[in-house]
Amino acid sequence: MSARLEAARPAAPRRAGTTRAAWLRLPSARLASPLALLVAWELAARLGWIPPHVLPAPSAIADTFVELVGSGRLETHLLVSLRRATAGLAIGVVLGVVFALIAGLWRRGELAVDPPMQILRTLPFLGVVPLFILWFGIGETTKIALIALATKTPIYLTLYGGIRNIDPKLIEAGDSLGLGVLERIVHVVLPGALPAFFVGLRYALGVALLALVAVEQINATAGIGYLINEARDFMRTDVIVVCLVVYSLLGLLTDALVRSLEQRTLRWRPASPATAP
């Protein structure tokens, strides 16, 4: 806004205008407003405008974070959460990949697998929580099963679509080179579907985190969700905020992980946003 006003002025203050515009173009410019909010929050907390039980000051939260890490509690519970998420995700990815291969590679497999998968897709996974509790109890099985159920859907949908959308001309070219069925799958179909798979994997990681948050509200005795519930009982707003930050850091971290994996495996793609340095 100010840059626009600056530019509208006559020649004299123009240099100031351009330097301001250059500053606005810096990547770190995007950090300005979150930092300003953080400072405002800190001030408001210190001045007593926000009571500590509603939202403690960022500095207090940082202290809590250090304390939680120092006592080893955060690491212990984070490890439990991570184990849950990876177990569920691993099962979900395997299921999604297997079903997508069956549906994508064989016409009969498609008829057998795709309709039920599409029906299952319309089911909000949180809706089956009571059912899973009745089936699997309130232990780890339910939690992992729910994460698996939630993550298999995006994997299946994207990989199946990726396989189905492979250029038939490439398949034909492979056939003309005398590729067998297995070679066709290995050299043509799967590499061609890989970009779609990575899209699915990113979705799945997001959903896994969401599912993790949800399942950890169910009678957890360990994990970040348990830490949150305990903090709620003791009215420790600061601990809750620390845990929320941990959740979002997990999201950032996993996304970066997939991004680097994508960069390494999809080097052949010409300057796509995912592979651009």
Partner: protein
């Protein structure tokens, strides 16, 4: 290796030893319309044959049938087992480097070495590690040529392989194809829209019409050929007439003393 399936009523008798193509009474219908209608065709070992025809004349169908990528309804066909096809688009696998694309499906000892040598022959030894997306159109098509020839085909099928290239690149490709053909001596069937290209390259130019070979033009003068030759212009006009193109504009542009057409037997009726 053959792609004809058992369910296909049309089962070509493929003989690995025979280099010549032999087609008898080949017929194929699409939606009630005969695309190929009792077509006969022979190609001698090492012969370069060009196939001209208007859109929908069945050129590509014939080529795909010879390649084993499509079946037919009736007829008999003999084609070498060792055959390779180059399409209009390079159709390289974008996730494989150039060398891997050439070596793909190659079942011989030292496939990589052979692929590298073939890449060198098409002048792309330095792009062996390149991704296909980084190649120019002409380079990609040269890789496709290498991918076909590294299989040492007895029959090389070219489906308008230069159609998408610019005029200058096309001239380079013509030279390359001729030199590769001289080295490896496959029988070549080139499907093209371009009459000049057909006359420049082929020993024999066939005109396909209504699902059959309607006309055969034998081109006997030595390569490299020049389009300035009177014989060239005559052959060209003849072929255009068979393709149903009104060549009156061309006649007006060429002197009346033009050399006569050499093949009265195949003069258009």
């Amino acid at each position: 290796m053959s792609l004809q399936t058992a369910a296909n009523p049309f089962a070509p008798a493929e003989r690995g030893e025979t280099a010549a193509v032999r087609v008898r009474g080949l017929s194929k219908q699409y939606a009630g319309r005969a695309v190929l209608d009792g077509l006969d065709l022979d190609i001698a070992p090492g012969e370069f044959v060009a196939l001209l025809g208007r859109s929908g004349s069945g050129k590509t169908t014939l080529l795909r049938t010879l390649a084993g990528l499509a079946g037919a309804d009736h007829g008999a066909l003999e084609a070498p087992l060792a055959k390779a096809i180059v399409f209009q688009e390079p159709r390289l696998l974008p996730w494989k480097r150039t060398l891997q694309n050439v070596a793909l499906g190659l079942r011989v000892g030292d496939a990589r070495g052979r692929a590298a040598a073939m890449l060198d022959e098409v002048g792309l030894a330095d792009r062996a590690a390149a991704w296909p997306a980084t190649l120019s159109g002409g380079q990609a098509q040269r890789v496709a040529l290498a991918r076909a020839l590294v299989r040492e085909p007895k029959l090389l099928l070219l489906d308008e392989p230069f159609g998408a290239l610019d005029a200058l690149t096309r001239i380079d490709m013509h030279r390359l194809v001729l030199s590769l053909w001289r080295t490896h001596r496959p029988a070549v069937l080139l499907v093209t829209h371009d009459v000049d290209e057909a006359v420049l390259l082929a020993d024999r130019v066939l005109v396909l019409a209504e699902g059959r070979v309607a006309h055969v033009e034998r081109i006997h003068w030595p390569r490299p050929r020049s389009i300035d030759l009177a014989e060239f212009r005559a052959a060209r006009r003849q072929l255009l007439a068979w393709l149903g193109v009104d060549a009156s504009a061309e006649r007006a542009a060429t002197p009346a003393t033009l050399a006569p057409v050499r093949f009265p037997r195949s003069r258009p009726r």
